[in-house]
Symmetry: C2
Amino acid sequence: MSTYRDIFKWGDKRETQVDKGTLNVIKEKFGLTDQDFISKHLLGDQEVKLNVKCNLSQSILYEFIALVGKENLETDDFSRANHSYGKYYADLLKLRKSLIPTPPDAVVYPRTEKEIKKILAICTENNIAVTPIGGQSSVTRGVETPKCGISLDLTKHFNKVIEVSEINSTVTVQSGMLGPAFEDFLNNYGEKYTCGHFPQSFEYSTVGGWVAAKGAGQASTGYGKIEHMVLSLKVITPSGIIETKTYPASAQGWDLYQTFIGSEGTLGVITEVTMKIHKFRPDNTKHASFIFKNFASAVKAMRTVMQSGVGVPHLFRISDPEESEIAFKTKDFEDTFADKFLSALGYKSGERCLMFVAVEGDKSHTNQVIYSIKRIAKKYNAFSLGSKPTKKWLEQRYSSAYLRDPLMDLGIMTDTLETAVMWDNLIPLWRNVRKYLKNRDKTVVMVHISHVYENGANLYFTFLSPMKKGDELNEYNEYHKGIIETILENKGSLSHHHGVGRTLAPWMQEQLGEESLSLMQTIKNQLDPKGIMNPGNTLGLKP
Amino acid sequence: MSTYRDIFKWGDKRETQVDKGTLNVIKEKFGLTDQDFISKHLLGDQEVKLNVKCNLSQSILYEFIALVGKENLETDDFSRANHSYGKYYADLLKLRKSLIPTPPDAVVYPRTEKEIKKILAICTENNIAVTPIGGQSSVTRGVETPKCGISLDLTKHFNKVIEVSEINSTVTVQSGMLGPAFEDFLNNYGEKYTCGHFPQSFEYSTVGGWVAAKGAGQASTGYGKIEHMVLSLKVITPSGIIETKTYPASAQGWDLYQTFIGSEGTLGVITEVTMKIHKFRPDNTKHASFIFKNFASAVKAMRTVMQSGVGVPHLFRISDPEESEIAFKTKDFEDTFADKFLSALGYKSGERCLMFVAVEGDKSHTNQVIYSIKRIAKKYNAFSLGSKPTKKWLEQRYSSAYLRDPLMDLGIMTDTLETAVMWDNLIPLWRNVRKYLKNRDKTVVMVHISHVYENGANLYFTFLSPMKKGDELNEYNEYHKGIIETILENKGSLSHHHGVGRTLAPWMQEQLGEESLSLMQTIKNQLDPKGIMNPGNTLGLKP
């Protein structure tokens, strides 16, 4: 029996393994007892049964089958349900409540670009919505299908590396390739390379998804966001194919390929991406970890590193006091001798902040940069914790995402929101969003900075709070809305790397201005005149 | 008496000072005698007299005067002639031949954004072409006025720094500010900063021109091209104002501000730019110079530096064998003891290549990077020349541009063309374009690489050749066309940093594809529905 639970779970064993340290923190923070761990909330373990029939006519389905083959078209309830949502907190709530009002009519797995072109032609002619699908890890409702239609899943056939150029230090890859397979391929190719892009969703996201949602990875401070990595791409739009040429840089009018980075499936289907690669030399990597007396001094040290011309680290991360406190708690560090020692030195729980650093590249360079960062950290009264905490963090860096489902089973809301902000607004934004989040009773708010620039950084908010049982969805939406408004009031961007999707679309006009949004709409209309591509207000664009 | 010569000359004293070394090289290369230096060619010293009247009606002119004031409108022959061309070789030829078939009808110097908005409204209503004007240093016919209309000159009133944020490391500046004033302001502000952008045209170009033409400066290997420096901008288009917000990075849909970087005045008038700044610490800068046995090994060393993760230099430059030979000749280095010594070591004239390097930033960093580069250069059998040659080169780095006019006086054609290319195509492109250029008798071809990336670099061709007297323009155009075609055949971009203008527009469709150009045209139509902005095929866009 296939259940809703089979859909929202990643199917990853880390989802079921909540370590003792974390369990104890959860018990303490939310006042739970062992008894609570027995009664579970909204398990979603019913069999998947859709109330909505496939709207596509038999003749259309035959057309698709003739094109891609029977084995590449799915219309059964589970497959359709399985392509209805991403991994947004509210998506999971809906699945747990068996709510799938608008599943796709069919899931299609195209094998060639020619097939995609024909599918888009059929869909344009018949007004069928098309949603390009990668790893489905969207946390912004980017892959939802409010107009049903087809989910065009690229992970089955568009998942190969097309070409590596070692002399150019580039790779051309199909958009449906998943992170681990891609990175593994590069790590073992020729002189050994890395793509340098490690988003939290790395294990279940695709290259095309990274580009479409304008993502950032954990090494972005050194390697840049995805828009800094892409050199060219190929997009099949309902109006034709746009394929840009590969140059290290150019001045041939404005950079048109940038239009598709962040287009979130609304303009066409990205099929190929050519991006930079870098030598993979993990033995050269230098790690450092620090503890600062408070958030302000950690941020100042971070900013000083970025603005001093000492070179930049690849991983650069600060946890705010509450996130640092919880990190210590889950590692059973509290009340140890080391903890008391740090407290005595003035690094007090509730104020102190952790910083993680990793620098990649040639040994001469990693040595110099890590040394310079240590020097700057010291100036801001940091206490060095050595390389171990950062290494430990790196080992389990993707795991925290898998905690969400066991927490939801316990009736605990867990979500994240993130923004980019210039340095001068960072501390006020952090303070005010935390304040808003804390207005809710018993809410744990963990904040980190994980993508750092000369001119500012991101702020990443993770919040855990007991659900208001019964009305989980509405009361969450209300809370969520307030967070976004607080971010915008404090001069944060709508997003730094999660993208816009349908969750943030309602704010796009206010945020970008009517002129800008209208220009985006014009571009959309040109490439997708019937509005079939990912309709329903992703990017705030009309279908 | 105001002459055509007053227009094409920069008015810079370096134009009249050709040093003895350079003179000797010119004499040798072109077989000139002292006698030739007396008879001058196409001096352009006639009084400026236009054959084309101002087409604007009195009532329109009154409207402009009422708006900007009498002192900010010019309709006299000299002012109009003075705004007819940029600094492209053929522009200078035309001026020397008193050819100005389509001067602007008037030159307008707006004082406020409100005035620009109203001017664009008047011009849209009356179908008057508008050409935004900065330093007029375009070498691609980017500021020409084939439909006459008005030249909207921003250098008079839009030339101030609006705001510096030291905490954010940003500056907001008006688009008509010239390079030297801008850099000087930053060098003396607060903790002292640099903009990091030093194009060859630096002394006579504006921030708005840098952005509009998508330029690159001599320190671009470290600081990036202008599109890597800009964080946000404000553009007044005939359809409305687009003002983007300032974030270190974001994921709010695709980056719309990128659309205006490289828009070359075809979409609207850029009035303000917010860009990154960097600490100005010239005392920390480390310089190095090398000589390599041949071009291939110099290029390999350069590529190795960029792909090794040792950190990057800011200035990074190789001169090819012919450019290196001429550099040595003009410095009277040939046949000196040092020359003979180098030759004996295998660094032979006609094969050897110069490399210049400068690294900026914190001392710890500049030391490490310069050391790493020395190590890599040595691996590729470079001979270190110490820091002096690079320092000397930096001192006179803008001067070579001013040689063009004295050379043209002698009947010598002098022009430059540039491209960006991936590493794997660099040597073939260099060889084939040189071969094409050399098909012309007695042609000196100097090539350098001056903007370097992990994935490739630019190639910059400077060529000197005796004019075919009488038919200078046609035969030059024919020659020029062949260069562009050879570049494209060898997988170079149409331009790396000069932009497209009217010289390269005819190749845009072939180069970008019909779909891409059509999308650009759609964007143009939305922002400038009557096609008044810089009409005449800049970017290949229809007026």
